[in-house]
């Protein structure tokens, strides 16, 4: 039996990005990038190293400022976004369970959500282990279990498949697929084709900087 996901807001979501440009360290990374996502859609961001996948994702969650362009989110509520970056955000000194309980409290989730997340990621054997004793793959699983804790409808994931074996890639895929089917939005940057078909795709190489660079 597949455990049911926590309840999500059913309001229609639109996530519009218009003519976005980014500059990092004095270099324009991408320009004029636009896309529009509605509830129940997934966007896969691909592109060579250094093409700005992570930068785009960090701009989308508000950790970086864009150089130009607009991001419109309806309903206008940033708590609707859950981000998972390269680093898992686990506290090494705390056990996996303590980490998950902390995030569930912070996200205002039900007590039961922790059990569900543990089941989803099959974490029961490592619950009592301190997070810094875990292997990279286990850390990733424990970090991504956070997604199943909150009730955010937009998930923004940076390389979620890193360090995962085939079985756990499937686990993430089914989690993402279920989220999209339930009317959520997923944006993921990856080099690896996901096990479900995202209905939007962006290749960062299609948005190179056109503005001539100032020579120093």
């Amino acid at each position: 039996m597949v455990p049911t996901m926590s309840t999500r807001s059913t309001a229609a979501i639109t996530f519009d990005v218009h003519n976005l440009s980014a500059r990092r360290g004095g270099r324009t990374i991408f320009e004029n990038l636009s896309f529009s996502l509605k509830d129940g859609s997934a966007l896969m961001v691909t592109g060579p190293n250094g093409s700005g996948k992570s930068t785009l994702l960090r701009i989308l969650v508000g950790l970086l400022r864009s150089e130009a362009g607009t991001i419109t989110l309806t309903p206008e509520d940033t708590t609707e976004i859950c981000y998972a970056g390269h680093r898992d955000g686990l506290k090494g000194g705390l056990s996996v369970l303590e980490n998950l309980i902390f995030w569930s409290r912070l996200y205002g989730a039900e007590q039961d959500a922790v059990n569900q997340a543990v089941n989803r990621m099959a974490l029961d054997t490592v619950l009592e282990m301190p997070a810094d004793m875990l292997s990279a793959g286990w850390r990733r699983r424990a970090g991504l279990a956070r997604l199943a804790l909150g009730s955010a409808s937009i998930w923004i994931l940076d390389e979620p498949y890193t360090a995962l074996d085939a079985e756990n890639v499937d686990r993430i895929d089914s989690l993402l697929n279920e989220h999209v089917t339930a009317g959520g939005v997923v944006v993921l940057a990856t080099h690896q084709a996901p096990g479900f078909t995202p209905n939007h795709k962006i290749n960062m190489a299609d948005y190179p900087a056109k503005t001539p660079e100032v020579e120093w």
Partner: protein, 221 residues
């Protein structure tokens, strides 16, 4: 408020797991203070005169030791990014971290000070004012320090930069903190000095969490 307590709870839990850090700060405070009687000598009157100053200056330095990793631990393992994108105001995150910092640094130092005051031959009349002054003053140190820790996050040579940014801002607390203890020790009314210390605390409490949150935003870019 609930997320504020959750954040404090997490930081306290972490400081229990890494209790060596807290013990080291308290140990640094105790050992440094005890060095002064050896360095200055036991002549009566001398230590008594400089005791309050020694306690305060050492408390400032001990506080600095632990400020270095106030935000950098969370930054290093990616937690900071997640906290800044979580459904919690960044100011709440910062305020909770400052509170936890004071509970694990300022409070132990305040409790240790009366014992060390004996080693510095401080008069017994100044014990209560000493505790009160540290109780009002050390939270201000944590608050101001958080701004410095956030500003220097990700900077090279942070260990040197942080004291340069923070120590000048600690001077007012130092002046009034020492003044309050000395004035009370001499038997005068130090109510005004304590009121100024309290004023610093209120001002820092209003401004610093906000300023540190803005600095963290900039540092995460």
């Amino acid at each position: 408020m609930k997320s504020f307590l959750t954040l404090i709870g997490r930081d306290l839990r972490l400081s229990i797991k890494h209790r060596a850090d807290t013990i080291m700060v308290a140990g640094f405070f105790a050992i440094t203070v005890i060095l002064f009687p050896f360095g200055i000598g036991p002549e009566p009157g001398v230590l008594e005169r400089v005791g309050a100053g020694i306690l305060w200056v050492t408390a400032l330095l001990a506080c600095l030791l632990s400020l270095d990793h106030l935000f950098s631990d969370d930054e290093h393992d990616g937690t900071l990014d997640l906290l800044l994108t979580a459904p919690v105001a960044p100011t709440t995150v910062v305020a909770a971290k400052i509170t936890a910092h004071w509970l694990t640094t300022g409070l132990p130092l305040t409790l240790l000070a009366p014992i060390l005051g004996v080693a510095l031959q401080m008069p017994s009349e100044s014990t209560a004012p000493m505790i009160l002054a540290l109780l009002i003053g050390t939270p201000t140190l944590s608050l101001i320090g958080a701004v410095g820790a956030a500003l220097t996050l990700g900077a090279r040579r942070r260990g040197v930069l942080l004291p340069l940014v923070i120590l000048p801002l600690y001077i007012p607390v130092l002046i009034f903190g020492v003044g309050a203890i000395d004035t009370s020790g001499m038997g005068f009314d130090a109510g005004g000095l304590f009121a100024v210390l309290g004023g610093f605390l209120l001002m820092a409490a209003a401004l610093c969490p906000w300023a540190a949150a803005v600095a963290l935003r900039l540092a995460s870019e």
